[in-house]
Symmetry: C2
Subunit: 575 residues, 2 copies
């Protein structure tokens, strides 16, 4: 393609709302275009890269026996009611009505639809296993869309669903997808980690998130370099503190004026924060968004709460909980802001972290302004409604598997795989007949890749201050020929010769034949991030051109023919 004919509108300035490299550079390179908050279009170069990612996904899915289909983006509410998710899914489910007032949603995911297909089509065990997938535009009406393609309201996903006869077969299907994802993200040039993850609104038992490492990612992962432990911090189990063997001392009320924080009370009483009990107060909501109760969560004073673990322990969706208004809650439960402890609380659910019962003689709020209780002991002094691991695994904490110090990293969730089990087949009645003609529930898995988010993650990992540095496999074009002076006949001829030779070799090549200053062309080439640049300038008269890889800083003056040969070779090796 000749750049003079191509619709590429690069920007010199950083768009106002863009904060991270992928957002800034994809906008500046004119590859994406914002329509409204969280809704983007793909311009010619961006769309080419996206289609390459799609093709890589397709190849690896097909290699594992996946079969591509396309189901509708608009989904009838009835199916979501069958699964129970119509009421459970929060406001990010983009709902609409048709002209007859019937309820629909724009699908954020397709478990219901695929389960419906399979319950209708599959009757015999001979039709299983089955893996169906689609690459499709999906919707999530985010409260705060941000970071460009990273958290948008309309986005492209590959979603696959596996259907098996048994949990053992699901293990195999899951492993196939896990392996395929490894191939896909490797081919896309990403540095990533598969980590254990929470199953969230999708449900199911097991899950791994594929996380492209990046400081700007919204996922936080904990991993151990001594063993293979790797999990999102939401999911990561914690090693509980060693149970104390101390004798239980008599409980004692102490005056602790103005010690509203753990730090204050520990300092005031000369205690380690580990000897205190921290309270966090929440209100919960029902499906209609009405308040329906209070929760007090207690963890060791030096710990942080893990909200995902808490909602899982409560078995409620994430959007059904929020920090409580302390005054309002006080009226109902007798909690006291800054001085809440488990003793004296009433009419609220008490959730206690799993290590607390093993600890002795903690200092807790007295539910009385300016007072704490010392030597509070679980069992003797109070009981909980729920005891569960609700604490966050922090960097430096002991690894729950091997005990070594855990590390943290940030990353972008580009894919996630789930063992759904029979959650949807049970809710929606998806059965197969086994060898003995007995009805059995189909065992499911689901597997997503954020295609547009993968594009952004690639840019996050592959850029410098001048622009994008596309890996060959997903570059919109593989080679750019920068024709320094299109008015110069020899230069134009040499550039055209290289262009034709590369086209013949099926190299995807851009010829920058625009009537622009050379500086503009070099800047644009760097911004667009085409992997190989061949510059045709004054040396053309002597049969010399400049050869440069975008990812390297050195340039070489070589012969035209050698440049052609080298370009063909590197494209063949890396495409």
């Amino acid at each position: 393609m000749k750049l003079s004919k191509m619709h590429v509108k690069t920007l010199r300035e950083v768009p106002n709302e863009a904060e991270i490299a992928s957002h800034i550079l994809l906008l500046r390179a004119g590859m994406i275009k914002k329509l409204v908050s969280g809704v983007y279009g793909f311009m010619p170069l961006g769309w080419r890269s996206l289609r390459k990612i799609e093709e890589i996904i397709r190849q690896e899915m097909d290699a594992k026996g996946g079969q591509e289909i396309l189901m509708s983006a608009v989904q009838p509410a009835e199916l979501w009611m069958e699964s129970g998710r119509w009421s459970k899914y929060g406001p990010e489910l983009w709902r609409l009505k048709d002209r007859n007032g019937r309820d629909f949603c724009l699908g954020p995911t397709h478990e219901e639809i695929f389960t419906d297909v399979v319950r209708n089509d599959v009757s015999s065990h001979r039709q299983l296993p089955l893996n169906l997938y689609q690459i499709q535009t999906k919707y999530r009406d985010e409260a705060r869309p941000r970071f460009g393609l990273m958290r948008s309201r309309e986005f492209i996903m590959k979603d696959a669903y596996s259907f098996d006869k048994s949990y053992e077969d699901l293990d195999k299907s899951y492993q196939d997808m896990y392996d395929a994802y490894g191939e896909i993200f490797t081919r896309c040039g990403l540095t990533f980690r598969p980590v254990e993850a929470d199953t969230g609104a999708i449900g199911g038992s097991n899950s791994h998130e594929f996380t492209a490492l990046s400081e700007v990612g919204e996922s936080e992962i904990a991993y151990c370099e001594s063993c293979h432990m790797a999990a999102t911090t939401e999911k990561a189990l914690c090693a509980d503190a060693v149970p104390s063997t101390e004798a239980q001392l008599p409980m004692e009320e102490v005056h602790t004026p103005n010690t509203k924080t753990i730090e204050d009370v520990a300092n005031f009483l000369g205690l380690d924060q580990k000897q205190t009990l921290k309270a966090l107060l929440f209100v919960t909501y029902d499906d209609e968004g009405e308040e329906n109760g209070y929760v007090a969560a207690f963890i060791r004073g030096d710990r942080e709460l893990n909200l995902i673990k808490l909602v899982n322990a409560l078995n409620i969706p994430e959007h059904a909980i929020a920090f409580a208004d302390e005054n309002k809650m006080a009226a109902a439960t007798d909690c006291v802001g800054g001085f809440t402890g488990p003793i004296g609380l009433h009419d609220c659910k008490i959730v206690v972290d799993s290590e607390i019962p093993g600890l002795k003689n903690l200092c807790a709020g007295a539910c009385k302004t300016d007072y704490h209780l010392k030597n509070v002991n679980y069992g003797r002094d109070y009981q909980a409604d729920i005891v569960a691991d609700i604490k966050l695994l922090q960097a430096g904490d002991p690894c729950p598997v091997c005990g070594a110090a855990v590390k943290h990293a940030r990353g972008i969730e580009v894919g996630q795989v789930f063992k759904l089990g029979t959650k949807y087949s049970e809710a929606m009645g998806a059965y197969y007949k086994d060898e003995n003609q007995q009805d059995q529930l189909i065992v499911m898995g689901c597997y997503g890749i954020g295609v547009t988010r993968t594009l952004a993650a690639i840019v996050e990992q592959h850029h410098d201050e001048n622009g994008i540095i596309w890996p060959m496999s997903v570059a919109p074009y593989q080679v750019v020929i920068t024709l320094v002076n299109p008015e110069d006949e020899i230069q134009a001829e040499v550039a055209e010769h290289i262009y034709q030779q590369l086209l013949q070799a099926r190299v995807e090549v851009l010829l920058d034949d625009r009537k622009e200053r050379p500086g503009v062309k070099f800047k644009d080439a760097d911004l667009l991030g085409i992997p190989v640049r061949v510059t045709v300038g004054r040396g053309a008269a002597q049969g010399q051109v400049e050869y440069k890889l975008r990812r390297e800083s050195e340039k070489e003056e070589i012969s035209t023919e050698e440049a052609i040969a080298r370009a063909i070779k590197i494209v063949a090796e890396e495409r």
Copy 2:
């Protein structure tokens, strides 16, 4: 692919709601699946054919310099308000709100979005011409979705938009697309006609519809075999009757009891229907759907009204008009059901067909029960608000170009091209700077192909009582190997050999290795419509197989190697 591993669920029975061949056969072949009324999913085989159509479109669009992009399916109302279509588009525009109450629609077409892109990106004449296109899921909330993919609420379209400096350049862009469409539909194996068409809700000056001929099509076209005239009946101009040279006779009221129809009154008075004036009564609606006036349309008694021409003459959208309640209208305008004429009517718009002023001494209703007026003459006795061609060109009518008798045919609208001119660039302010740095309006065209509808049209033209007969270019697989008895080792071995040889030759081949009766396999092969069938049965032991083309009835016993060679050859020739 081995059919035992493939998700194909064929149906023996014709689904209840399916009336036409494409709907019946695509459902029976398990290629599409209905989710709710007007919303379908594509199963593996159907999706493969659809992707082939997409690829043909892509290639031909790219060959004309089209550049593929992808804009959002969800569109903000603001852009539609700028163009004025937010209020003009009827209830088939599927509207929704986001969580903040902001108005959006699911795009049925993308003029606004593409104009917005170009007004932001294009500043100089050097950036034009430009042709941007996308292949995308679109929405139209049809009142009566029917005929499967033919009139559905969610469908895939290719929509392209051209941007030019002048109307002359637009002519070239339009011709390029016109030519590309010819290539595309030819490659898809369709028999079609490009015909002049109305511009409808899209607007603009010129338009052609590409109509795949089919008895079940919803488009009616008029064409002339003596000249090149071809147009939708909505659009087709009519030759007006030769103006009469008769002298105007005095108007005369006659008693015509119970003659409510043209036929009745003509018989009663002994007149030719051509000597009568037919009235049709309508009510119109404003943007809010409130009644805002009445219309009486008059045509020669033997003619049919063309509603599209009438709404164009009135300059209102098609959904803003309906037949009037005669009693209600009578109260306001003094019309009289069955006896309405132009004289005596008031408070309503009178539209008269273009040939009426040239005709003399017509018989019209008297606006008085059981009375007509003879010798009514336009100009002398009444005036119209609008005089325009509002009549339908019917089969046998004289061709408006050459006078020969016109023929009618039915067809499926698979594509349409429009010269938009400056309708959108003017409304939305899309300018470029010319050579003299003066702002000029960008001149636009738009070009649509119903991709899913093309799939259906292909099936309408290529099927028999046993199933689909795919043209090679869009067949989901090119060859099917029917292994008669998978338990027979020799047969299985020969089938596998052919399968491997064809795979190596990059032929898309299905091996029917299912443990089903041979009759089931043959029936399924016919239903699925794979162009070439190689049957491996008892002859396999002697190296003989059966070779058959789906489109032909004869079968041949030939050697395995010849079957392989023939299959490879025909696939190469026709793919």
